[in-house]
Structures are given as C-alpha cells and as structure tokens.
C-alpha cells in the first residue's frame, strides 16, 4: 500500500524538519519526503492542507482497561504507541499475561502496545517477577506503576537484577509512608478543604533513594509522573551527574494545580496529586527545556468511581484523546514552538524507550499523525472513544484535532 500525504506542514522534530511538503509512505515505512521515490504510484492520497504531519505520538503511560476501546481512543488521539503500566487486574507479572496483551494488541491492529512488566510479583514490592521471561514476552521495561516499593532492600535487589540484564526500571517516586493516607497536595488547598495531605517530601525522599541506588547499581531508571519543583531539581541534578536517568510529566500536571480542586472536584484528583503553582511552573520549565517527556497518564475510570466524595473517588483522568490538544495548550501558554512541543510526545519518549520510531526520516516506520492545529472541539462523553469519560476538561473547547493516524503505513484512523 502506497500512500501520499500531500500539502501538509511536515514536522519531524528529531530531524529538524519543518516545511510544507508531501510525505510518501510505502511498505509500512517512510519512503520519501518532498520527492516521490522512483516508481512510486500512490494507492491512496491524504490531503493534509492546513494540517500538521508529524510522527505518531508515543504515550509513556496509558492504562487499557477495555483494550479495544482504549486502543481506538489512542489512534483517535494520534497516539501510535502506548506504554501500558502493569497495574492491570491481574497485575502484569507473568510472561503469559504479557504475551496475551501483546497478541491482543496486534490482533486489534490500532496503536502499538508496549507493556511494562511488573517489577515484583503482584506489585507487592517483595518478590521479583520473572523479568527476563517478561522481557521475552514483549515487555519494554519493568515498573511498579504507582505502587511504591516499601522495602528498600527489595528495591536495591530489583535494580541490581535488572541491571544485570540491562533492563530499565520505571518508578513513580512516592514514599509509601508519606503518601499512604494522603489524597491531595499538602498545601494551602488541602489545609482549607480538610483533605489529608501528601507532602512534596514524599516525592523528594523517594527520588533521593532511587538516585542513590542508580549510582550504586548502574541500573537505568525512568522516573514517571514527577509532580514537584523540588523533585524536578533532584532529577535534573542526577542527570547532570551523568546517571542513566530520565523522567516524564503527565500533561494534566503541566496545566492544572491544587486550585483546580475547587469545591472538591473529583476530576482533579490525581496520583501523584496536582501541586502548587510553583510546582506546575517547574514541571512546565522542565518540559520546555527538553528535560522531560510528556505523557497522557491515561487512566479511564468508570463514572461511578468519580461520583464520590473527593477522597473516595479514584484518581486519574482520561488522556489519550486530549494528549495532543493539551500539549498544544501548554505550548501556547509556555511559549514553546510547535516542533519543540511535538518533540515532547514523539522523539523524547522514543529516546526514553530506546526506540527508533518517533521520527519521519526516510526508512523509518510509518507511524504518522495528521492533525489540524486550528480545529476546536468540545470535550464531551460522546466525543471520546475511550470508555473513560473522566476528565477535568469536560465541557471545555480544546484546539487541535487529529485527522488521520497511520501505524506501520496503514491508515488506522
């Protein structure tokens, strides 16, 4: 199948491309930019006038509770690869489970599914899962999702073991003891509303421990969903030291703060919590400077699980279909150029994963997103393909609408 995407603004952040031209796709790969390869005859042409043509987005964190709906949501949001945390039911701690997930993803044939294997059995933080077996079954790295490892020795051993095989470990830094009872950032809003607080120290203590263990074990670690300015500063220092460390931020944390809890809005409950304005600013700066990748942290939650008092509501928001418009909103507010913003959801996550996709160089896999950067749409339950209708943006108009998504050279949306 040969496809030509015509007249679009082709942005390939990785290779510094930003110009209006045509993109040619053949045999599932990018076959040419501007000039058709010899003998190219298009079977299909996509008119991208007024649209941006860029690498498909790589989402470093998306939960797929109902896999068909969520993978359809992914490609509707321009996301061509999703990293799936292991906190499914049951947790992804056995090779067969990973195998089944990967197969199911291939069968559905929408976005690519990149599972994270459980680092420990049942995510209990005690006994190691079969990491090598999980890797063989298709896991790209190992994680505890947002369940902290309480036992520091278990964490040390897990990192030593992972380092033995050159596996990466993804950790959401949150001290168990300081976060177990909390439901909101410990700050002005939690004090006013009487919500049990999670102090910033929950994050910095965990990062301190992890960084020291990275130094000792050489294990490659990716920190997920940083939430505080102090946390960013610690991660930055460790990266400057040359440690094999990367981190990401959830797109909601770039735009919202504790103040968005308003009168106990359960849609503003996140894990880690939305923090203060200065924290949001620090996360935004980290993303703007290219230090952090951005992900959706897609967490579909049933309506009944949000129609509860704030502290009883499940944390998280739907994210796959709002990743692009929210990234654009952030870029606009933070004064970040479009190619740099797109790098945060394409090449930056590809670098975290050590993958060659996330770019449009000739010969690379044709995972492509075509979107209209000016088109507005209203976030309503019906507008979302995801089963998760939980969003702090319900009712809002967002700008940036995906027109087409290609995965491996096939038009999947």
């Amino acid at each position: 199948m040969n496809i030509v995407i015509e007249n679009g603004r082709v942005i390939d952040p990785k290779n510094g491309v930003d110009r209006s031209t045509s993109l040619f796709v053949a045999d599932g790969k990018v076959a040419g930019l501007g000039e058709a390869p010899a003998g190219f005859v298009a079977d299909q042409s996509i008119d991208a006038t007024g649209c941006v043509v860029c690498p498909g987005f790589i989402d470093l964190g998306a939960r797929l509770n109902s896999i068909e709906a969520e993978l359809a949501a992914a490609v509707a949001g321009g996301v061509t690869s999703v990293v799936v945390p292991p906190d499914a039911d049951p947790p992804l701690d056995e090779p067969e489970l990973a195998d089944r997930l990967v197969h199911r993803g291939t069968e559905i044939g929408k976005a690519r599914v990149l599972p994270l294997g459980a680092l420990t059995l049942g995510l209990q933080g005690e006994r190691l899962a079969e990491l090598a077996g999980l890797k063989k079954a298709g896991c790209v790295a190992f994680s505890q999702a947002n369940k902290p490892v309480t036992d520091t020795e278990a964490l040390l051993r897990a990192m030593e073991y992972a380092a033995t095989f050159g596996f990466s470990v993804w950790l959401q830094p949150q001290d168990y003891w300081l976060s177990r009872n909390g439901i909101a950032h410990e700050g002005e809003v939690s004090s006013r509303l009487g919500l049990a607080g999670i102090p910033v120290a929950a994050e910095t203590i965990a990062i301190g421990t992890i960084v020291q263990l990275v130094r000792d074990t050489g294990c490659r670690v990716h920190l997920t969903r940083l939430s505080s300015g102090a946390g960013v500063a610690l991660a930055k220092r460790a990266m400057e030291e040359g440690l094999p460390l990367t981190f990401d931020v959830g797109v909601h944390h770039l735009l919202l703060t504790e103040n968005d809890i308003g009168f106990f809005n359960p849609h503003a409950r996140f894990c880690p919590p939305l923090r203060a304005q200065s924290d949001r600013q620090a996360l935004s700066d980290a993303a703007a400077s290219g230090l952090a990748a951005i992900c959706s942290d897609h967490t579909p939650v049933g309506a009944d699980d949000k129609l509860l008092p704030f502290g009883e509501a499940k944390p998280g928001a739907t994210g796959l279909e709002v990743l692009l418009p929210l990234t654009l909103m952030w870029a606009n507010a933070a004064g970040v150029r479009l190619p740099d913003a797109l790098a945060r959801i394409t090449s930056a996550p590809a670098d975290v994963l050590g993958l060659a996709n996330g770019q449009l160089a000739v010969g690379s896999v044709a995972d492509i997103c075509v979107f209209d950067p000016e088109a507005s749409w209203q976030v309503t339950p019906d507008a979302l393909k995801s089963r998760g209708k939980n969003s702090p943006w319900l009712g809002y108009m967002l700008t940036g609408k995906v027109k087409n998504t290609l995965v491996g050279g096939r038009v999947v949306f």
Binding site: G194, L195, L308, P309, G311
Partner: protein, 319 residues
C-alpha cells in the same frame, strides 16, 4: 466565583461551609437565631415555619449529640424528622451515596442534614441535586471529614456575639487539634468574615495544618504566649486515636503543654470566655476547674446551638 451554596439571587440554598458566605448571610443567621431563642423558652416550643416539610438526618458517621440538636431544632420548626443511621443500612448493602439521595428525594425529602466522614460529601449531594433539577431540596452540612462543621461555627459565633457584643475588637484563640478539626476551619472562616482582627491558632506542629497563615491566622506553639490578652478561647476536642500514631507522645504531655488550666486561663483577659464544641475530655484538653468554672460558656453553647440550627433550616428550607 461560582458558589454552590447560593441560589441565583444570592440567597442561601444550602449550608455547606462558612467559607465563601458573605457577612450579611452570617449576620442574618445569627439575627434569626436570636429571634428563636424566645421560642425555646415558651411552654409550647413550636413555630410552624417548616410544617409539612420532611427533614432527613443522614448520619454516615455516628453523632448522637449533633443529630439530637438538629432533630430538636427541626421539630421546633414543626418539620417531620426522619433519622437515618446509614452505617447500619444502605451503605453496608453497597448502595452509593447518590443512590441513597435519589431514593430519599423520591420520598419527598425537603432537607438533608448530612454528616459524613469524607471532606466534601455534602458538596457532592448539593451538586447532584442541582444536576437533577431539584432546587427545592436543600442540604445542611452537619460535619464532613476534616472540612467543615458550619452550624457549629455559627453557634460559636452566636455565643461570642452574645457575650462580647462586637466582633471587631476581639482576640480569639483556637487551641488544640486544628489539623483534624472541621470545627476549627469553620470557626476560622466565620471569625475572619465577621471582622475579628486577630485569630490565633495554638498547638504543636503535628496538629496544625500547613499554610494556616493563608487563612489569616496567627500560629503559636507556646500556649502561654498565645493566650495572652485574648477575649475568647475555643478549646478543641482531642480524639483518642491521635495518641496512637506519632502525632503526640501521650495525653499527659499534651495536657501539660496544651491543656487549659486555671493558671493558663489567667493569662487571658479577666473576662475571657471559654468555649468547647464537646464532648470534652477532662484532664486531656481542659481542666475540670476551668470546664466547670465561671468563665466557661460550654453549656450555653449547646442551648444556642438549637436556635442557630433552627435559623439555618428555616432560612434554607423555609419559603
């Protein structure tokens, strides 16, 4: 800013929190309560303001005392009162909070008095009622988690106004476990809204929420310093479970530093009043000589509480 407590005309539709209410509404409640004080002194202690209306006491958390005062207040307004102890019924069968509400609305409830362990639960109910278009059904928060206990806050203000007349010259100290106290949060908002120039919070760092200064409160760790020249002392109840964690070493050590003794009370103004939302832990936060002494106004608080709750219910649910 949108305030779910007020209707389109800026009138009180629900009482969820003192925060965000204008001074005029607080004063209206206190004035209305004053007019009800006389009712409680009559032989026939009834006025017909809520005749034919149904008040549901929805207590998801046990509280005999608060529930009783709401029940008495509703009955004096001639309402029908239905007490529901949710711990023992629906919740244990897995029914959600809003399902319970829908069922009771179908039974023609007019007013819900809600006590819930989760901060914000009454907001969820009020927003739900708005969503289903039932602006004729009202919610009064009788205590939600650590967040608010607005009728307690208002009866505290009634008490202070009764004894001190004017709010604008006062120094008020709130002592004890402010972190876990919904009473303290409601008192702080009420005091600052009514124009009290100096509100002090006294307690150890483990029992004080962060950023109290942002609420307009001066923080003291030393009770001897904090009580100096105050006009009003509001003592808070120290829950027994606070002793089990790392918040405090022991009841004895707490009492030595933050218990109100006659010696410490002497640091306040000679005519200072001592308040407590009850139930008291004698020998933990308050010495019996103070609790039973001439400056304590703890029992009058209970009496005023009935009039204040009558005022609140008649304002939100009366026509």
């Amino acid at each position: 800013m949108y305030n779910p407590q007020l209707n389109k005309n800026g009138e009180l539709a629900h009482l969820l929190s003192i925060e965000g209410l204008p001074k005029s509404i607080l004063t209206q409640i206190l004035d209305t309560a004053a007019s009800f004080m006389e009712v409680s002194a009559r032989d026939v202690k009834k006025v017909p303001l809520l005749r034919g209306k149904s008040v549901f006491n929805l207590f998801f958390e046990n509280s005999t005392r608060t529930r009783t005062t709401f029940e008495i207040a509703a009955k004096r307004l001639s309402a029908d009162v239905i007490n529901l102890d949710i711990n023992k019924s629906s919740a244990s069968k897995g029914e959600t909070l809003l399902d319970t509400i829908d069922n009771l609305v179908a039974m023609h409830a007019n007013l819900f008095v809600v006590r819930h362990a989760s901060s914000g639960a009454p907001y969820l109910i009020a927003e739900h009622l708005q969503r289903i278009g039932r602006d004729d059904v009202h919610v009064v928060n009788a205590g939600d988690g650590r967040h608010a206990h607005p009728t307690q806050g208002l009866l505290d203000m009634y008490t202070i106004r009764h004894y001190k007349k004017d709010f604008t010259q006062l120094r008020v100290a709130i002592v004890g476990d402010i972190l876990h106290s919904r009473v303290a949060r409601s008192d702080i908002h009420a005091l600052t809204t009514l124009g009290v120039p100096e509100v002090r919070a006294i307690g150890p760092e483990t029992l004080l929420p962060k950023h109290l200064d942002k609420l307009g409160v001066h923080v003291y760790h030393d009770m001897n310093e904090g009580l100096k020249d105050v006009d009003v002392i509001i003592m808070l109840r120290l829950q027994n479970e606070r002793m089990t964690g790392a918040l405090l070493p022991s009841a004895g050590e707490y009492f030595r530093h933050y218990g109100l003794t006659p010696q410490k009370l002497a640091l306040a103004k000679p005519d200072a009043i001592v308040m407590h939302p009850g139930p008291m832990n004698r020998g933990v936060e308050i010495h019996s000589a103070v609790a039973d002494g001439s400056q304590a106004v703890i029992l009058p608080q209970v009496t005023f509480g009935i009039a204040v709750r009558m005022a609140v219910m008649s304002i939100v649910a009366g026509n």
